[in-house]
Amino acid sequence: MRDGYEVVAINYWREVRSNFKRTLLDFNDILLLIHDSAAFDDLIRFLNILPYYRRRTYISLTRTFSTINPSLKKFDTRMYIIDCISKSISDRDFQIGKSWFFEDMSFGFSEISRLIDKYLKKLKPELVVVDSISQLIDFSVTAGDRDFNNFINHLRKRNSETLCNFVLLYDNQLKSLRNLPISNINLILRLEVIKDKIHWRE
């Protein structure tokens, strides 16, 4: 077909609105969260719905600490923050804090696996959030090459050893979701943020 569209994939989505909290309570290993929002506030709202996680670690491959921190304060949310961006763009002397750390950017699944292992040992988190794996894989091209499947297997192994759960974000703004890795991940949710104009009343 020239200059037109053709169907390249069909994804089936199950609506879990009615038992959403139950779904999250039952979640126990890896959650792939597809989203189309760049706003950190929306992500915080979602993470705050997740139950019982006291020690949460957020690995940022997309936002600097200075853009994250205002939202943490706004929502009074505590998380360990691993900022993998700031060291690339600034030569300031980054002082690590009680709850934030600065690392070099991870450019592949083996690098991010090593980073996760480092902070699993150091912080012993109950939940690790990776924002986002769309920096590492493109689901419009592949459903998961060997590296991605090895990464998932690695996280599953760590989950069985430490009971830590993992939330992997995937930003769908950039690429279509032609190939979802349905065979290797049990829980895939989609976060949809609906925005509309505010009609002010006089």
């Binding site: 760049a38 600097t64 763009i89 600034s90 769309s134 703004q173 950039l174």
Partner: protein, 121 residues
């Protein structure tokens, strides 16, 4: 017609921008990492560089510092990125080099091309 250099480790983005910019009448050269860019930039002598902020190898701040060392501080650069930075961080980058714009992915193509033409004026 201007000479534009596209620097990004993502080959599909480089190809897309290469085709798009050639269609709009520009001459395009490409590099896939900071080292390759620095090796080529003096010979290519571009009017504008589209520089991805996150690439393996040299960090952005290192690339900008090396451009400074090469006395190419006035080279016009547009940063391309999926990264969200604070205003202070963008300001800090701008003090080190001639960054004329900062475009976040995904691109709106019309807006993208308009900003390139503005940068080239």
């Amino acid at each position: 017609m201007a000479k534009i250099m596209v620097v990004d480790d993502n080959k599909s983005i480089v190809t897309t921008l290469d085709v798009l910019l050639r269609k709009t009448g520009h001459d395009v050269d490409v590099a896939y990492n900071g080292d390759e860019f620095l090796d080529k930039v003096r010979d290519v002598n571009p009017d504008l560089v589209l520089l991805d902020i996150m690439m393996p190898g040299l960090k952005t701040r290192e690339i900008l510092a090396k451009l400074n060392d090469m006395k190419l501080k006035d080279l016009k650069i547009i940063l391309l990125t999926a990264v969200r930075m604070g205003e202070d961080e963008v300001k800090e980058l701008k003090t080190k080099s001639n960054i004329v714009d900062y475009i976040t992915k995904p691109y709106d193509l019309d807006d993208f091309l308009a900003r390139i033409e503005t940068a080239l004026k």
